[in-house]
């Protein structure tokens, strides 16, 4: 769960092979390629993940969802874990 290699200033997106299901506690994610299940533990991290593709960077997506500077490291760790498990991937910008 290290944040090494996770760049908050890059553009990110949910992998095209991931199915995301909202739940009262957040969301469940299933990756059809790796066949692994992940969880999002609250609504705000769900809002961040859902909007990744609409923002120029992960940092911007966090800010738009109301994540404060103090909370940012916690969200960066969550996103790094999602990147490690290939649930989210870097978006190529053309």
């Amino acid at each position: 769960m290290s944040t090494d290699g996770f760049d908050l200033d890059r553009p990110w997106q949910v992998d095209s092979r991931v199915s995301m299901r909202p739940e009262p506690f957040g969301a469940l994610l299933y990756h059809f390629g790796t066949r692994r299940l992940s969880f999002l533990k609250n609504q705000r991290v769900l809002a961040v993940v859902r909007s990744l593709a609409e923002h120029p960077s992960a940092r911007a997506a966090c800010a738009a969802a109301g994540v404060t500077a103090a909370e940012l490291p916690v969200y960066a760790r969550a996103l790094a874990a999602l990147a490690d498990s290939k649930m989210i991937s870097e978006r190529r910008v053309v």
Binding site: M1, R17, S19, R21, E23, F25, G26, L28, Y30, F32, G33, R35, R36, L37, S38, F39, L40, K41, N42, Q43, R44, V45, E71, V74, Y75, R77, A78, L79, A81, L82, D84, S85
Partner: protein, 404 residues
């Protein structure tokens, strides 16, 4: 249940943190994460431990159109994938049609097979899809151990299927093994077979369900073997899948990877070939029957409103296990294993690693519950007469029979 490994990313320290996911799952989800769907009771084999007592097709099995309606419902409920089994699901003439329909409707498919239909052509087709996974069943790393349980020739069939998948470039399909007293000494050999074919090893627990109830006492691992299995699983970590079926072993110490929870009626369930919905694949008995997909409201209504599922989603009291220091690790073990060995559902698992199960089993008197449905092949004993002709020139087959 067959949950894959999970990471649990989340903003854990934030105020919205809901606590442990296992506690949330205990109370059930609006839709299953995945479910087991047995498409037919027909099977070319007669495995002695078959948990669904399969063999003969049931004339009431869901039609192709009804199966597609179920898939439509699963898509609407956002069920991620179905574990298709049987019986041998690939003997259904519409099997591939249903697989294609499910994946086209965003319902992933993992199917279990003995390999009988996995030709090189089928293997090539399967290798091309991200949304279909295959599990080949093999219960011995040698033909001798496997065929004693699954029947003559079944080892060769499974090995040929794996070779075909491997040659087609299918990486990471599953080699699925039910652990028994006879095959636990072969753990490393199973891993070698999986590695040779580029497959992932999946080990699951023998349940006393279906025909398994008749052989459980001879086949289930000894206490020493359970310890050996636990240590082996800990050493291999996430390389080896378990369908989270060994959570009762977590009482040995640290929890095994995966979700240590009975998901019956909470995050998983079973749809059987005639559309009956049971709490889990190991509990085909009227006591665990929640409804039928043909009922008004279909599967969605059964999942959300059945009294049985509602009661399974209430917090567990732990019963006789409540005072045990290991209850938080093993959660009392497997409901189906207790039920079919005649133990109370709120007591210890028959294979409780602390030994409470053995003691409880010794106190079981009278008969244990029998499965409500049995589609086993009928074994009609046929005696072939060996009656040599009375004279060398008797060619008429009726020669020697007296007319009556």
């Amino acid at each position: 249940m067959t949950l894959t490994r999970q990471a649990a990313p989340g903003a854990g320290s934030s105020s919205a943190s809901p606590g442990r996911l296992v506690d949330l799952f205990q109370l059930g989800l609006d839709a299953p994460i995945c479910l087991t769907w047995e498409l037919t009771y027909a099977c070319n084999l007669s495995c002695v431990h078959c948990l669904s007592s399969s063999g003969r097709r049931d004339p009431r099995e869901l039609t192709t159109a009804e199966c597609k309606q179920v898939i439509d419902t699963l898509e609407r409920m956002q069920v991620f994938y179905v574990n298709i089994g049987g019986g041998e699901p690939t003997v259904r003439p519409d099997f591939w049609e249903l697989v294609d329909y499910a994946t086209a409707h965003h319902v992933g498919v993992k199917f279990s097979t003995n390999g009988v239909k996995i030709t090189p052509e089928v293997a090539a087709r399967l290798a091309a899809s991200d949304y279909v996974d295959v599990q080949i069943s093999l219960d011995g790393a040698t033909a001798e151990v496997n065929d004693a349980v699954r029947g003559g020739g079944s080892y060769a069939t499974a090995m040929r299927a794996m070779e075909n998948l491997s040659n087609a470039g299918f990486r990471g399909f599953k080699l699925s093994v039910v652990m028994t007293r006879q095959n636990i000494p072969q753990l490393n050999a199973f891993k070698s077979i999986a590695d040779r074919f580029g497959a992932q090893l999946r080990l699951t627990r023998l349940r006393p369900s279906g025909r398994g109830a008749d052989v459980w006492h001879e086949l289930h691992p000894t206490a020493e073997q359970q310890r050996e299995l636990y240590d082996w699983l800990v050493a291999h970590g996430e390389d080896v899948l378990t369908g989270d079926s060994f959570f009762h072993l977590s009482a040995y110490g640290s929890a095994l990877p995966g979700l240590n929870l009975c998901g019956a009626g909470r995050v998983v369930c079973l749809i059987d070939p005639v559309g009956d919905v049971y709490a889990c694949p190991f509990a085909i008995h009227s006591q665990f029957l929640a409804g039928n997909v043909r009922d008004a409201g279909g599967f969605e209504s059964v999942w959300r409103t059945s009294d049985l599922f509602k009661s399974l989603r209430t917090p567990d009291t732990g019963g006789a296990c409540r005072s045990c220091g290991h209850y938080d690790s093993c959660r009392g073990g497997c409901m189906a294993a207790k039920f079919f060995t005649g133990l109370p559902l709120d007591g210890p698992d028959p294979e409780c690693v602390q030994g409470y199960g053995e003691a409880a089993l010794a106190g079981v008197s009278g008969s244990t519950p029998k499965p409500s449905v049995d589609h086993s092949h009928r074994r009609v004993p046929v005696t072939i007469g060996r009656r040599p002709p009375k004279r060398d020139c008797d060619e008429n087959p009726l020669a020697g029979f007296a007319a009556s």
